[in-house]
Symmetry: C2
Subunit: 231 residues, 2 copies
């Protein structure tokens, strides 16, 4: 059986992908990789670690200090995250766009895979994602897969199980795959808040997905539970 | 006139490319980018800085701490560089192969270019290179260009002026472009020696190119000159 490496951000999507990979490749063939790339919210890495722990798969963290040196975006710098506008015709990329971030993540993941004889990469990108990041689209990822195969003489395959499905479908997939225990420890909020702010675009999109799937978000349930305990 | 960014390692090839870019895009439109990626020999970065200084173009250094964390190759770790064998049928990649190194360099360079409104990248890779690195080949670089255009919604073009020419042709190109003053400060030796060891594969290939072009290597001349001074 071939081995798979999941790019694990600690969010809802990559956690679903982790359980997808376990289902697809067998538990013993799956490991996860996270990136410490200077993200403003270190809670992402703590979430990734916790999720991997619950799923009982290895989690390695690779540092990338280059994005911070490049600067100029809301995910690594002290810049406010823009709220989405209703102007869906806008061609402007949001200020959370880190140019080439997923290309870099997947290229380093492929390099890691190369040195560990792993032939499958799994990443939770979706072109249905509201953010419109061009490095989440299917044609970009197909092109990157070809580039990685040529550039490393490898047989790497990039799996994107969420590429064409809605957030509600992702929630249903996570339920079916038994990812809900881990889901309670995922992190989504752009403002790095825990409990999540439930106001930013990321929180709103997550809430919408759970509502449409008619599933209670285990993260919100867990936060409520702890708040009640603290009272 | 559009702007160009040269990936400058401080070696013979990237230095030639820097002068090629100055000739092609005009001096005022060219800048250079180097990577501090944990290479064993920091002399590379000093060479890049000196070369950029002589060419009078800006040089920015971006850190990448990920390759060292990935580990396992002779360019970043304390592993001996393999001497080339005569077994040209060998499919084994040399132990100086850092998986995806040029893909990463060019993706970060493209991200830098994106944030600086630069549409052209120039890199001194050559598929005629004896090392047989798959990320130096034309089909890999064409595929990467397409990936970067899709993934960043950019119009980036990757220029590889040395792709299909011999080392001797590179030397002749450097002479024609007036790169010889800078060439005296380039660094090539895999063993990081200055004066160069003249025994490793990189030194041998460089010497062969200069010999075939019937040009004295200004680096060797400079080292001889200083040695005579010190006597």
């Amino acid at each position: 059986m071939s081995k798979a490496l999941v790019v694990l951000s600690g969010g809802q999507d990559s956690t679903t992908c982790l359980y997808w990979a376990i289902n697809e490749f067998g538990h013993e063939n799956v490991s996860s990789l996270s990136f410490d790339y200077g993200q403003r919210h270190k809670i992402e890495l703590e979430s990734a670690k916790k999720v991997a722990e619950i799923a009982a798969v290895a989690n390695e963290i690779l540092p990338i200090n280059t994005f911070t040196a490049l600067g100029g975006n809301a995910l690594t710098d002290d810049i406010n995250v823009e709220q989405s506008s209703d102007d869906s015709d806008s061609n402007q990329l949001p200020n959370t766009f880190v140019p080439g971030r997923n290309l870099i993540f997947l290229t380093f993941a492929a390099a890691y895979a190369y040195t560990h004889s792993i032939d499958n990469l799994v990443i939770g990108v979706a072109q249905t994602d509201y953010s419109g990041y061009p490095d989440c689209r299917e044609n970009t990822l197909n092109s990157l897969e070809q580039t990685l195969r040529l550039g490393m003489e490898s047989h790497i395959t990039i799996h994107t199980p969420l590429m064409n499905i809605s957030k509600a479908d992702t929630v249903e997939m996570a339920v079916k795959l038994g990812a809900m225990d881990a889901m309670a420890y995922t992190h989504t909020c752009y403002n790095g808040a825990q409990p999540p702010c439930q106001k930013c675009d990321a929180c709103t999109l997550r809430a919408k997905g759970f509502a449409e799937a008619d599933v209670a978000d285990p993260l919100i349930e867990r936060c409520k539970f702890f708040r009640n305990l603290q009272k």
